[in-house]
């Protein structure tokens, strides 16, 4: 097998430079590449275009990159939980492109599947459709949306092996597999890194061919955004 293991987040992101387009997996704060984000903050890379479903919260997730003003543009479907984001957006420091969540996911998948464009009904007749090619199939209107072209994808998995195979846990899967397929260079951080042969080939969500670097992350906070519970009856 081909060994994709690198020592840590710092080594993994070594060639991410100012102005690059970076996908970040996760939904809310669930399944986000915590170690990679911390390394990006530490390295201080600027003018990033970030493709991620959400923008984190003020002091966690992509919010950390916003606080240090490393993000030039966010491409997301929902950015609602972040006051610093709002401030930068209103002041014109930050550019934002909002796209429907399914379109976001499918444009990632399209890149990973070598499909230059896809058709989706999401956004037809709305401002999302402005300037976009539309097409009618069997009486229903669709927008043509293009595959993403991202320099890097940063994803977080539960388990991985040094061949780059990834297994996600529960709903922390979300955007991670489709972004893993979509990055020109895909960096995976995992909670548990094992040797090839320890993962059941039938259980692998992302085959190693899509992953260029992998490392075992540390000190996962896995912050809960909305702790909702029921009481014992």
């Amino acid at each position: 097998m081909i060994n994709k293991k690198v020592a840590d987040a710092h080594e993994a992101i070594r060639d991410i430079e100012d102005g690059k387009t970076v996908m970040l997996g996760g939904f809310g704060l669930c399944g986000i590449p915590e170690n990679c984000i911390a390394a990006l903050v530490k390295k201080g890379i600027k003018d990033l275009t970030c493709i991620s479903n959400n923008a984190g919260v003020d002091d966690f997730g992509i919010g950390l990159l916003l606080k240090t003003r490393q993000v030039k543009k966010m491409i997301s479907s929902y950015v609602g939980e972040n006051a610093e984001f709002e401030r930068q957006l209103l002041s014109g420091e930050l550019e934002v492109e909002l796209i429907p969540q399914g379109t976001l996911a499918t444009r990632c998948m399209a890149a990973g599947y070598g499909m230059p464009a896809i058709f989706t009904p999401a956004g037809v007749g709305t401002e999302v459709a402005e300037g976009k090619e539309t097409r009618i199939f069997e009486g229903k209107e669709y927008l043509m949306e293009y595959a993403f072209d991202a320099d890097f994808a940063l994803v977080k998995a539960w388990k991985g092996d040094t061949a780059g195979n990834l297994i996600f846990r529960s709903t922390s899967r979300n955007f991670n597999p489709v972004m893993a397929m979509a990055g020109k260079i895909t960096i995976a951080e995992v909670e548990i890194l094992v040797e090839p042969g320890e993962l059941d080939p039938d259980h692998i969500h992302t085959p190693g061919v899509y992953v260029h670097r992998i490392f075992q992350g540390s000190a996962y906070e896995k912050r809960i955004e909305q702790r909702t519970v029921r009481t014992q009856d």
Partner: protein, 219 residues
């Protein structure tokens, strides 16, 4: 007049045995509490889960297990996990039988606006545009009248649209209404204690009513 839970209770009656249902944030989430026993329903959460269960017991929250509202949840036996592309794939291919979501405005031709208010911070459409453009069966749960007393059921939406020509049914604190294929709202049921006249006054879009409009049954 219904409260939020009343709206949720009324909507729950629309759910049929064997339905896969996507519940939006807000009132729609409450619908899960009122699904009649004996009705087998699977809740989809568009972040990648079929078979969403109730909130976890205190101390059993799992940060890796949330719903599309980012709330900690549980799974039920028979649930499955998938990625975001497959999640919206099954939404687009209409495998989800019913979508219930909130709205700021609905127009008499079934347009919906629920994601953006000009001049206010935009949070984003999330999955709402995908859901309304794809689902074959959408129920809107919303207030009939906004906070300044204006109808939210309009001839034409004034806010930026989320989707066009897609809403089939609306349940508000005052009424159940169908959106007619040829345009216009048809009053189906009125909330307990609410008069047809009051619903007429509260509906700015074209409203069709019949001689006898029955009162909702909530059980």
């Amino acid at each position: 007049m219904l409260d939020k839970n009343g709206i949720a209770r009324r909507i729950a009656k629309e759910i049929k045995d064997g339905y896969y249902v996507n519940l939006g944030i807000g009132i729609p989430t409450l619908v899960a509490n009122y699904i009649p026993t004996g009705i087998n329903v699977v809740l989809q959460s568009e972040n990648g889960l079929l078979g969403m269960g109730p909130f976890p017991f205190e101390g059993e929250e799992d940060p890796d297990l949330i719903n599309a509202g980012k709330q900690t949840i549980t799974t039920l036996p028979g649930s499955s996990i998938f990625d975001s592309a497959m999640s919206f794939g099954m939404i687009r291919s209409q495998k989800i039988d019913l979508t219930i979501l909130g709205a700021m405005e609905v127009s008499e031709n079934g347009d919906i606006a629920n994601w953006k208010i000009p001049g206010k911070m935009v949070k984003g459409m999330g999955g709402a545009m995908d859901l309304v453009a794809s689902a074959k069966n959408i129920i809107v749960a919303m207030q009939h009248i906004n906070k300044v007393g204006e109808s939210k059921l309009l001839p034409k939406c004034t806010l930026p649209l989320t989707g066009v020509n897609c809403i089939k049914k609306i349940v508000t604190e005052l009424a159940v209404l169908d959106v007619l294929p040829e345009g216009g709202f048809r009053l189906i049921e009125r909330a307990p204690g609410v008069s047809v006249d009051f619903i007429k006054q509260s509906t700015s879009g074209k409203l069709f009513t019949e001689a006898d409009v029955k009162e909702m049954e909530l059980n």
